[in-house]
Amino acid sequence: MAKEVKRVNKLTLLSKGWNAVFVIILFFMALLVVIPMLLILIVSLSSEISIADYGYTFFPSEWTLDGYRYLFKTGDQLADSYLVTIFYSITGTLMSLTVMTMFAYVIAQKKFKHSRLFTWLLFFTMLFSGGLVPIYILNVRYLHINNSIWIFLLPSLVNAYYTVILRTFIRTTIPDTLFEAARIDGAGHFRIFVSIVLPLFKTGIATVGLFNMVSRWNDWFTGMLYIQNPKLVPLQTLLTKLQNTIDFLKQNAAIAGTPDGIALLRTLPDENMRMACTIIVILPILFAYPFFQRYFVQGLTMGSIKG
C-alpha cells in the first residue's frame, strides 16, 4: 500500500523544470521580505549618531547594543509582560476556539432552521459596532473587568470573521454524507461534533487558532486602554508605549525649542530601541510558528487526508 502511494505521489510531483522556476520565483519573493527585515535588525544594532548622520543604512558607522540595553532596563517589567502575553494568548485562543467551533458547527448545519438567523446575528456584529466608548463603559462600569486578566479573554472571545471561516472549513472538508450517515446511526450532534468533525478539520482549527493567537499577541490597544497594573501590561503595549514617546516628539519638533522639549529629547529612547522592540516581538512567534505549521504542512507537501 505504501509503495503504491509513493508511486502515485511521484506521479503527482512537479516536473524538475517547473520546480526550478518556482524555486527561483519564491526565492526572490523571500528576498523582498528578508531584506527589509535585515534592515530592521541592523538598525536595532546601530548607534544613534550613525542614524542621525546617515539615516537607516545597512552599513552603520557605529554598532551598539544600546537599543537592547535600554529595552532590558525595564527588566522585570519585560519578563512580566512576556508571561502575561503568552498566558492570555494561549488561554484566550483555546477559549475562543472552543466557543467558535461549536457555533460554526451549528451554523454549518444546512438543515437547522435557525442556521441562517444565527449567521445573520453573528455577521451583523461584524458590521455594526457601538464604538469604543460604549464598549469601554460596558467593560469598566458594568462588568468591572478592566485591569484584570479577563479583559483579554472575554471581549475577544468570538470573532465573527474567524467563525465564518470555520464554518466554511466545516462545510468543505466534511461531506454531507458523513453527517447523514452518522445521524442515521443515531448519534447526537454533540457526539458527531466531537468524534467526527473535530478530528477531520484540524487544519481549519489550526489555521484559525494561529490567526487568533497572532492577533492577541499583536494587540497593544486593549492593554493600553484598560490596564493600570504593571504586572498585567502586555508585551506590545509596553513596547508601543516606549515607541510612542518618540513619535510625539518627532511630530512636535517645533516645540522641541521649549525647555520641556529639550529635556525630553535627551532622555528619550531612540530609533535603535524602537527596532529592537520589533525584533523581540517577532522572535517568539517565529519560535511558536512551526507548532502550527505542521497542521497545514500537508498543504505544503501534497499528501493529504484520504476522503
Binding site: 549618531i49 542614524i51 542621525a52 514617546t245 525649542g257 521649549t258 525647555p259 529639550i262 532622555t267 530609533e271
Partner: protein
C-alpha cells in the same frame, strides 16, 4: 407555529435588551475612584477631614521613580489635608486615546491637566461638560491660588460664565528668543550685542551673513544646517492673536506690532491668504535651499550636540543655561523685543477637576497646595531630597551627588522640568544650572508676564459649534499644505507661489469665509456686551 415563535422570541429579546441597556446606562452617575464619603453641604474644618484618595492624571511621560515620588507626595498630603493621590503619568499618545475615551464614558478622572501638552483642549471640554465649575471651590478653598492671577485673567478662563480650570503660572506669554552658539559667534567675529531679534522672518539677512562666514571658516560644518527648526507660523514668525487651536484660519493683529499690513487690530482675517504669509513661506524655501534650516529636521536631534550648528529657536526661556546642548559649546540668547500674550496662552496649560469628582473640595485643596507651597511644587518636579537631588554646602540645590539623578540625564529617576501641567512654576526651587543665579529665571518670568502686550480681545473665547464642519474641512486642508510650505520643502519660489494659490483657493472652497464671518460676528457681540 414553532418556527415563528422562536424567531419572534429572539427578536423581542434583542429589542428588550437594547431598551434595557438604554435605561440602565443612565449615563454619568457614580464615580469609580475614591473611597470616603462626601461631606455634603458644610465646609469641613481641618479637624473633621476624613481620609480620601483621589486620582490625578498628568500628561507627563512616565519615569522610573514615579511610584517613589507618589509615596512621598502621599505622605506630605496626608499630613496636610489627610488625603492621598494616585498619580498617573501618561505619555501624549496614550493620553489622546485613553483620556478622551474615559472622559466620554463619564468616568471620574479626579484632577486632570489640560492644554496643548496634555492634549485636552480646555475650551472643547469645558463646553462639553467634562470639567467641574470651579468658581465656588476657588473662593472657598483656593483663595491663595486665586490671588496668583489678576481678575481679568480669571475672566478669560470663563466659558459660559464659569471658570473651569486653573491656569499654570509659568511664562504666560510668548517669550521667543534666539539661542546661539556663543563659541562659534566668537570664532566668526560676530558682534552679538548689536543684533536685534524680533522674529525668525526679520532675522533672515543676519542668518544669511552668518552662514557665509561659517562656510568660509568651518567648511566641515556645511553638512549641518545653520539653525534648528522654527517652522511654526505663530509664535516663531508672527505675533498675532489666535482664536483656533493649531490652525491660523482666524487671527487678528496685535497693536503695536501689526505684523500683517492692511488690517486693524479688530478685524479677523485668514493668515494663509495674506501676502506676508506668502513672503514668509518663500523665505523658508530660500533658507532651506541654502541650508540655513534643514530640509528635514526630524530625528536629527543629535546634531544639536555636535557644535556645528549656530542657532536654535527658544520659547519660554527667561534665563539661558551655560550649556543647553551639552558640553561641546556654550549657549547664550537674545530675547525678542516682541512679547505678547493672548487668551489661548492661558488655555495652553493648567489643571481642572472632573465634573463628577467624588471629592471636589479635597481636589481644590490639593491644587491650592501645589500652586502655593514651594515644597510640594518642587517635589512634583524634582522628586525627593537626598534621592533625586541634594543640597550642597552653599545651601543650593544640585543633581550631582544625588542617588538617582547623579548621572547622565538619560538615566534620571525622576525629573520634570517646567512640567507645565502641574501648576505654579515660579515657586519651584531649582538648581542654579536651570534657573540661573538667585532664581533669576523665575523672577524674569513674572516680569515678562506683567509687561506682555495684551491683544484687543483678551477674554474672548470662540464658540466653534456654528461652523464645526467648515473648521473640520479647513483643518484638513491646512494639514495638507502647511508642513510642506512652512518647512520649505518645495523646489523653487515659483512652486511656492503655485502651492500657496492652491492652498488659499481650497480653503475658500471649504468655507473659510464662513468661519471668518462667524468669528467676527462673535467678537462684535462680545465687545458690545462688555
Amino acid at each position: 407555529m414553532k418556527k415563528l415563535w422562536i424567531t419572534r422570541t429572539f427578536a423581542y429579546l434583542i429589542v428588550m435588551v437594547m431598551i434595557f441597556s438604554l435605561t440602565a446606562c443612565s449615563g454619568s452617575t457614580k464615580p469609580s475612584a475614591s473611597q470616603g464619603d462626601n461631606s455634603g453641604g458644610n465646609e469641613p474644618t481641618m479637624k473633621e477631614l476624613n481620609f480620601v484618595t483621589l486620582d490625578w492624571y498628568l500628561g507627563l511621560d512616565p519615569m522610573p521613580d514615579n511610584q517613589m515620588v507618589n509615596d512621598a507626595v502621599n505622605k506630605y498630603l496626608k499630613e496636610k489635608i489627610n488625603a492621598n493621590v494616585n498619580m498617573y503619568y501618561w505619555s501624549a499618545k496614550d493620553w489622546e486615546t485613553k483620556m478622551t475615551t474615559m472622559i466620554s464614558a463619564g468616568q471620574d478622572v479626579g484632577i486632570i491637566g489640560f492644554g496643548s501638552q496634555s492634549k485636552l483642549d480646555y475650551v472643547v471640554h469645558s463646553n462639553r461638560g467634562s470639567f467641574r465649575p470651579l468658581d465656588d471651590l476657588l473662593n472657598n478653598y483656593g483663595t491663595e491660588t486665586k490671588a496668583l492671577f489678576p481678575n481679568e485673567i480669571w475672566e478669560c478662563m470663563k466659558i459660559n460664565k464659569q471658570i473651569y480650570g486653573i491656569p499654570s503660572l509659568k511664562d504666560n506669554c510668548y517669550i521667543m528668543s534666539f539661542i546661539y552658539n556663543a563659541d562659534m559667534a566668537d570664532a566668526l567675529g560676530l558682534d552679538m550685542g548689536s543684533v536685534k531679534f524680533t522674529n525668525w522672518r526679520q532675522i533672515e539677512p543676519f542668518l544669511t551673513e552668518v552662514l557665509k562666514k561659517r562656510s568660509e571658516k568651518f567648511p566641515e560644518y556645511d553638512q549641518y544646517p545653520l539653525c534648528g527648526g522654527a517652522g511654526r507660523e505663530i509664535p516663531y514668525n508672527f505675533a498675532l492673536e489666535t482664536f483656533l487651536n493649531d490652525s491660523y484660519l482666524a487671527v487678528c493683529n496685535i497693536a503695536p506690532f501689526f505684523d500683517v499690513k492692511g488690517y486693524d487690530d479688530d478685524t479677523v482675517f485668514n493668515l494663509y491668504a495674506t501676502n506676508e504669509y506668502r513672503e514668509f513661506v518663500k523665505s523658508r524655501q530660500r533658507m532651506v535651499e541654502k541650508n540655513i534650516f534643514a530640509y528635514d529636521y526630524t530625528g536629527k536631534s543629535e546634531w544639536n550636540y555636535k557644535g556645528g550648528m549656530f542657532a536654535w529657536p527658544g520659547w519660554g526661556y527667561t534665563y539661558m543655561q551655560k550649556n543647553l546642548y551639552g558640553d561641546a559649546f556654550t549657549t547664550k540668547m537674545i530675547v525678542s523685543d516682541h512679547i505678547w500674550t493672548e487668551t489661548n496662552n492661558y488655555f495652553s496649560a493648567g489643571t481642572a477637576i472632573s465634573f463628577n469628582c467624588a471629592e471636589p473640595e479635597r481636589a481644590m485643596m490639593i491644587l491650592n497646595l501645589v500652586n502655593t507651597d514651594p515644597e510640594f511644587a518642587t517635589m512634583m518636579r524634582f522628586g525627593v531630597q537626598g534621592k533625586h537631588y541634594i543640597t550642597n554646602n552653599e545651601g543650593k540645590m544640585q543633581f550631582e551627588g544625588s542617588e538617582r539623578n547623579g548621572g547622565a540625564r538619560a538615566d534620571y529617576g525622576y525629573y520634570y522640568w517646567y512640567a507645565a501641567p502641574v501648576g505654579n512654576l515660579t515657586i519651584v526651587k531649582a538648581p542654579e544650572s536651570l534657573v540661573g543665579p538667585n532664581g533669576i529665571m523665575l523672577t524674569e518670568i513674572k516680569r515678562y508676564n506683567k509687561e506682555a502686550v495684551m491683544p484687543n480681545h483678551m477674554g474672548f473665547v470662540f464658540d466653534i459649534k456654528p461652523v464645526a464642519n467648515e473648521i473640520a474641512a479647513c483643518t484638513n486642508v491646512v494639514m495638507e499644505y502647511r508642513d510642506i510650505l512652512r518647512n520649505g520643502q518645495l523646489e523653487s519660489e515659483k512652486e511656492v507661489d503655485k502651492a500657496v494659490d492652491e492652498f488659499v483657493a481650497k480653503l475658500e472652497a471649504n468655507g473659510v469665509k464662513k468661519v471668518l464671518a462667524e468669528t467676527q460676528k462673535q467678537i462684535n457681540d462680545w465687545k458690545a456686551s462688555k
